[in-house]
Point group: C2
Chain length 370, copies 2
């Protein structure tokens, strides 16, 4: 057994710190070229330690996807946090607690939320209006200038809400067909945010616009007029991003390491301990016939993992079991008790489930879920 | 706000204890009618407290899906535990620790595992041979009498492995088209296990056969020759089981309670805080066009929830957001800050992610993930 292999007892999420830091540094450089602030989204790693790798490189502002995550990072020394989901008014106590300690930036998209905050806030917060530039998940449609104006006027009439500008998320880039599609979506978001900036420049002094999705932030160099970018997944990347073209294979910084627990020679299948409670059940369709792929295979090496192995893939998962379908060569290579590496389809979901990561240097890295 | 509603701050998994206990009692009665031991699978709830509801009704033997889960329940007083997944040889230290304390029952399906256990075990364990009656996940095909005979002979030649019999899991029943399909699969499993019992009655004294899946254990009354049943999901049920016909709507014992954080009047969509990190991303196809359904809607009441609401469903989820698509009536009923109830598609995955449950009586119930 090599060094890394010998530390793996059960399904384990390996994190290659060097690849991860290279991803962080590449995105810092990209933001600098774009003359935009990088406010990395920490929902992917959810880890104070990984957060420190950003901090050591000058990052001071972050985005998170829940108030509980904001609390975790505030408790770990972060002082400027955007909660990038429309506020949940029921969490007002936590909002007030955080707003008393840090620069808290919240998202609104409704009159109700604005009126509620003004009535219940004990400390002032910065506010972004969530706009929708095509994803159709949430946000005011960026074309709805009248509705947006109403919200701005409402915010300006408050004492505790300081309107900063607009925030968009092109989540539809995750469903893009190809890079052309991503560029097209991104161009629309750029155009929409710049139009909003021009339209409301007078109403909102020092107006800012923020966008953030790993596909566009990874493949585009065009961020004209954008003040802030908020990608998150790029810290680890995954097979979904690799397929979209957001990253190279060797930029994927996490791999699941799973023990082989059974082999079926009739079907050329390896059974691993590693299922929905480890990977999540996200998959991509590997071909036109809808073949599901839950992860790509790698060989665990002394201090990391190999290139993707042809000839097999993680083809199905139940709660704790995973089935790897493979050719004769791969099948013969792995026996009961061996560890097989799997690059996950969606690293955010996998990291959230796995809670802790094992660095390829052999150190355990904790997260808010540890 | 009613009593239950006022306790909900963020996405919360509600557990109706009365429905859950009724499910437990119904399965105990069914096992009694079948003259089979009920060894409930605890992977669904993963909770010592829910486990106690079984214990109070005479259940002493359980199944779990990982050795870590076995350890948790052993630490909580359970003394007869089957780990219903082929053993992971890398966990031998934990196997030895548990085998020194409790009646530990393990699954094998390979020569390698048997030889490894005989070499490394410090205490004796009971062994079931995993057989495959049609699911094609793992196990020796039940027809492969020759291969099975080799394993039995190997086990009989060991000192520390006590061969108990055969264990099967008709997981393909979760993908069944209809109840007829489930009955057909179940009949084959019954037949296969009875044939194995007859074939190996002389080799294995007091031979036992065990099967377990919620669909068959919920809809069939036919368990001829079966010594033990191991269903798990029935403790909570979910929309998948409801669609399969394993349960009535009012037997589903868990519901997610999620705050409404945004509303889109143009698309009649309610946005909830509640996404893949709460529900998992499992879905069922609601129609022939492949419309995805991630959950069905209910209204949270003073001490539980309503029948399923027509006119809307959880139509998509990302990491923290969920989108409910609904008609005008439902749309108008819910405003920002309201709680909407959602019956999950797959309660095992949702319970695993949510970690704690809030009973409809207002008490927090902890799990091994708390």
């Amino acid at each position: 057994m090599n060094t890394l292999d010998s530390k793996i007892i059960r399904p384990t999420l390996l994190l290659d710190k060097q690849k991860c830091i290279a991803n962080i540094e590449a995105m810092i450089a990209r933001a600098k070229r774009a003359n935009a602030q990088l406010r990395p989204h920490f929902k992917t790693h959810q880890s104070a330690e990984v957060g420190n790798w950003f901090k050591e490189r000058g990052i001071e502002c972050i985005a998170v996807s829940s108030l509980q995550m904001a609390k975790y990072f505030a408790d770990n020394g972060w002082t400027d946090i955007t909660v990038a989901i429309p506020i949940n008014v029921r969490e007002i106590d936590l909002i007030n607690e955080l707003a008393s300690k840090i620069q808290l930036n919240l998202l609104v998209e409704s009159r109700e939320s604005i009126l509620f905050l003004e009535s219940e806030l004990k400390h002032s917060v910065d506010i972004y209006i969530k706009v929708d530039t095509g994803y159709q998940r949430c946000g005011i449609p960026s074309e709805a200038i009248g509705s947006i104006k109403i919200l701005i006027d409402l915010i300006k009439a408050t004492d505790k809400l300081n309107c900063k500008g607009f925030l968009a998320h092109s989540g539809h880039n995750y469903n893009a067909k190809d890079q052309k599609d991503i560029h097209k979506n991104h161009s629309k978001t750029l155009l929409d945010l710049n139009e909003l900036k021009d339209t409301f420049r007078k109403e909102i002094p020092n107006i800012e616009v923020s966008l953030g999705d790993t596909p566009a932030c990874s493949i585009s160099e065009e961020f004209y007029g954008i003040d802030e970018i908020r990608p998150g997944n790029f810290v680890f990347f995954d097979i979904m991003q690799y397929v979209l073209g957001s990253c190279e294979e060797n930029e994927i910084a996490v791999a699941m390491a799973c023990p082989v627990i059974a082999r079926n020679i009739d079907r050329n299948e390896l059974v691993i301990h590693g299922g929905g409670v480890h990977f999540s059940k996200e998959f991509i369709e590997a071909d036109d016939e809808g073949t599901k792929l839950f992860g790509s295979l790698v060989r665990i090496t002394k201090n990391g993992w190999s290139e993707i192995l042809g000839g097999g893939f993680l083809a199905s998962i139940s709660q704790e079991h995973g089935i790897i379908r493979c050719n004769d060569i791969l099948f013969d290579e792995f026996t009961i008790g061996d560890i097989i590496g799997i690059l996950p389809v969606h690293s955010c979901m996998t990291a959230n489930l796995m809670k802790d990561f094992l660095s390829t240097e052999g150190d355990w890295i904790k997260t808010m879920n540890s």
